[in-house]
Each structure stands twice: as C-alpha cells, then as structure tokens.
C-alpha cells in the first residue's frame, strides 16, 4: 500500500502569511508521512506543524515520531504550538542533532523557557522522549529512517525515509555546493548518503541562481545547485523546497516554469513544493 506524504509547510526562514503567499503557503518546514490513525511520522516542526497538530488531534493520534533536521527557529518554532504536545495522552519521540556540548533535549528546552516562551518544558503534559542523532537507523510501521550530518550552519541533518519499495530524502536546509557536487561520487557529496537513488528528494532551493552569489555560506542552495545535487545523486524526482520568504506565489510559479526547462532528457521535471501538496511513495 502506498505511503502518503503531505507538505504542511515549505517556506524558508520565517513564516510569510498574506495574500501574496496563499497559493504556495507561508508556513515553515513540516512534512507528514502517514503511518496509521494511531501514529504519525513528522519531519521538522516549523509553523506548518501547528495545523498538522490539530489534524492529528482530530484523528486521535497518540503516538508521534518527530525528526528534526536542526534547531533553527523556522524548523522548531511550531513545536510549542503543536496541540498533541499539550495532551497527557500523547507520546512524542523527538530525534534531532545534538551539539558538541549539549544534548538535543538541552538544546530544545532552551526554546521552551522564558524569555522565549512563557512556560517551561516541565509544564508539557505529553510524554516526550529525546533521541540524539546521528545514531542508529529507526525502524517501525514498515518504514526506516536514517540520518547524516549535512552542510548548513550548525549541526544539521538530512533524512532518508524508506518504505521498502520506495524512498524519500529530506534536505530542506542544505548548501552542498560549498564542498562540491559536480564530479564527485555520491559518498563525497554532503547529503549524498541519504539522497543517493532516492525516488523523491525534497531539497533546499531558496535562491535564484543570480541571488546565490550574495548569499554564499548562508546555508542554502540555488535552484541550479539543487538540480545539480539531484542529478549527482541520481534521485528520481526533485521537489524544490524552503522558499525564500520574499517569494510571492507569482514568483514561485515563474520558478516552477523555469524548473521545467532545467529537466534534462529522460528526467522528471522538478516541481515546486506547495503547502498541502500530497504525493505517494510506493
């Protein structure tokens, strides 16, 4: 049975509500991979996780597996407003990167304390368990999730989700070109391990190629570099993700049209991620 993947947020850096972004959405990174009504797998806790939380509460989901790529606010800030967190009936397992000095738990608890938030983490009624990554592959519900550290400022992970027959790579914040893409074997490319041969790659494409030169080292990719990455790792389909906050729906439509032209012979044309987009993994 196909596994359904839904994008709940694909905006980069900061939420961008407003009439100019209604089409592609203004919520920051969050992707759900359907398990059962009882359980959910979630990638990142940007503001998109807030709406997902209401949906999971409606479904009665009590077991949630959350994998965080990193702790920049646009990937974490929704967690504080994630409805299941405030239910004593919910068990939430959180995986994410530790730092050289602090565990994942210690790092996240900082975001749950004054002056950043009125409550302390000990006030959270759900049962929350933290797991430092990189570490062992996680397997459950017929899926497996593995992670590698990838190029982005601060400890950051890329994930690979495998269903057995299909695979998804999730690299929403990633600047692999800093260490080289073209002419490298996949094992020498940042993110190459999680993305090699993946059927679908959700990849950072925050900048236009002409914008990138002024943003080198900020941790994000241009559309052209995202395409180069997906070709180098021989992935099946590229979904352009983590949209620049200033990008309007019209601008993203233009990128979508340009991305179609970037597809080489025999390649599936890249698509632009959109809030609410659903696709299936075999």
């Amino acid at each position: 049975m196909p596994t359904q993947v839904k994008i709940w947020g694909c905006r980069g850096s900061v939420p961008t509500p407003g009439p100019e972004t209604v089409g592609y959405g203004g919520n920051t990174s969050c992707v759900e991979i359907a398990l059962t009504d009882d359980a959910a797998l979630v990638l990142d806790a940007g503001t998109g996780i807030r709406e997902l939380g209401f949906e999971l509460a409606r479904r009665g989901t009590r077991r949630i597996y959350l994998f965080l790529t990193h702790l920049h606010l646009d990937h974490l800030e929704g967690l504080r407003f994630f409805a299941p967190l405030w239910s004593p009936d919910v068990t939430l397992d959180v995986w994410g990167p530790c730092s050289p000095l602090f565990s994942l738990r210690e790092r996240i608890v900082r975001a749950f304390s004054p002056p950043l938030f009125p409550l302390d983490f000990r006030d959270v009624p759900a049962e929350v368990r933290f797991h430092d990554l990189p570490g062992e592959r996680w397997e459950s519900h017929g899926l497996s999730v593995s992670a590698d550290l990838v190029l982005h400022p601060g400890p950051t992970l890329g994930y690979r989700v495998e269903t057995g027959a299909s695979s998804l790579a999730y690299l929403p914040d990633h600047e692999p070109v800093l260490a080289g893409i073209t002419g490298r074997s996949a094992d020498w490319i940042s993110g190459g391990g999680v993305a090699a041969g993946a059927h679908v790659v959700l990849h950072d494409a925050q900048y236009l190629d002409e914008e990138y030169e002024a943003k080198i080292g900020w941790g994000h990719s241009s559309v052209g570099d995202a395409v180069a990455f997906y070709r180098a790792v021989e992935a099946g389909r590229l979904v352009l993700f983590h949209h620049e906050p200033q990008r309007s729906d019209r601008a993203l439509e233009s990128i979508g049209a340009r991305a179609q032209e970037l597809a080489g012979p025999g390649e599936v044309p890249p698509v632009v991620a959109r809030e609410g987009m659903v696709f299936e993994l075999a």
């Binding site: 990167p97 530790c98 730092s99 050289p100 990189p134 593995s146 590698d148 550290l149 990838v150 190029l151 400890p155 690979r160 495998e162 695979s167 800093l178 260490a179 080289g180 996949a186 094992d187 020498w188 490319i189 940042s190 993110g191 190459g192 391990g193 999680v194 090699a196 041969g197 993946a198 790792v233 021989e234």
Partner: protein
C-alpha cells in the same frame, strides 16, 4: 544507485579544505585509509589521486623512506601521520624523505586528528610544508 554511506561530513569538509590549499595535504579516515590528497600533493607524489585511489595510509607512507635531519631512520610509528592516527593527538616533525625518484627532500610535516560531534574520531589531516 541506492542509499549508501556518506563520508563523514567532517571528512567532506576536510577534503574541500585541502582542495583549496597550495600546500600538499592529505586526508585519511578513521580506519587509516588515505581517502584524498590534493593537487599540491599530486605534484610531490607524481601521481593523481584519481589514479591511485583509496589505500591504507601505511602503503602510501611506505613509498617514502624517512630519516631525521641527522640521517637516522624514522620508524613509521613515529611519523606524524601515524602518531595522529594511532595516538589521536597532533604531531609535527622536521625530517627528510626520499621519494620514488630517489631525491631527498627536507620537509616539515604536521598531522592532526579530526574529532567530530561528541569527540567521535573520524580521521586525520596531514600537511607537508616544503622548505
């Protein structure tokens, strides 16, 4: 191409760092395998890394006789690359190597271990300073 292991990110960054240096530099992984050397090192060795490929660091070091400035042989375990690998500490040595072309060259060599997250040892970087 199915999912495969990526080199540790620190090694990927070390390779890129070495690629941009004009100082001969090599990178070995935690097993002691030479996984990269840069163009400047290729000039010294006389062979491109792409031709040589990954190999045990000992095999590579064995291609060069090493002796002190006083002419005493230096055993492999005392050379900086092996010290950094075996003892996981930085090492620096001023010595003479005789390469395959039979020419003696005076070098200073710096080797240091790479520790990633939570002090995970992932390899060593070795830099050859030509006098």
């Amino acid at each position: 191409m199915d999912g495969q292991r990526q080199k540790h990110l620190v090694l990927i960054l070390a390779r890129e760092f070495a690629s941009n240096l004009s100082t001969p530099t090599l990178v070995a992984d935690e097993r002691g395998y030479l996984v990269f050397y840069n163009e400047a090192a290729e000039n010294v060795v006389g062979r491109r890394f792409g031709e040589v490929g990954e190999m045990p660091l000992d095999d590579w070091l064995g291609a060069f006789d090493a002796k002190s400035l006083a002419g005493e042989p230096i055993p492999p375990e005392d050379r900086p690359a092996r010290v950094a690998l075996d003892q996981r500490r930085p090492s620096h040595l001023h010595y003479i190597v005789t390469s395959a072309d039979g020419i003696d060259r005076e070098l200073e060599v710096t080797a240091f271990p790479l520790f990633a997250h939570t002090e995970e040892f992932v390899g060593v970087v070795v830099i050859f300073w030509r006098n």
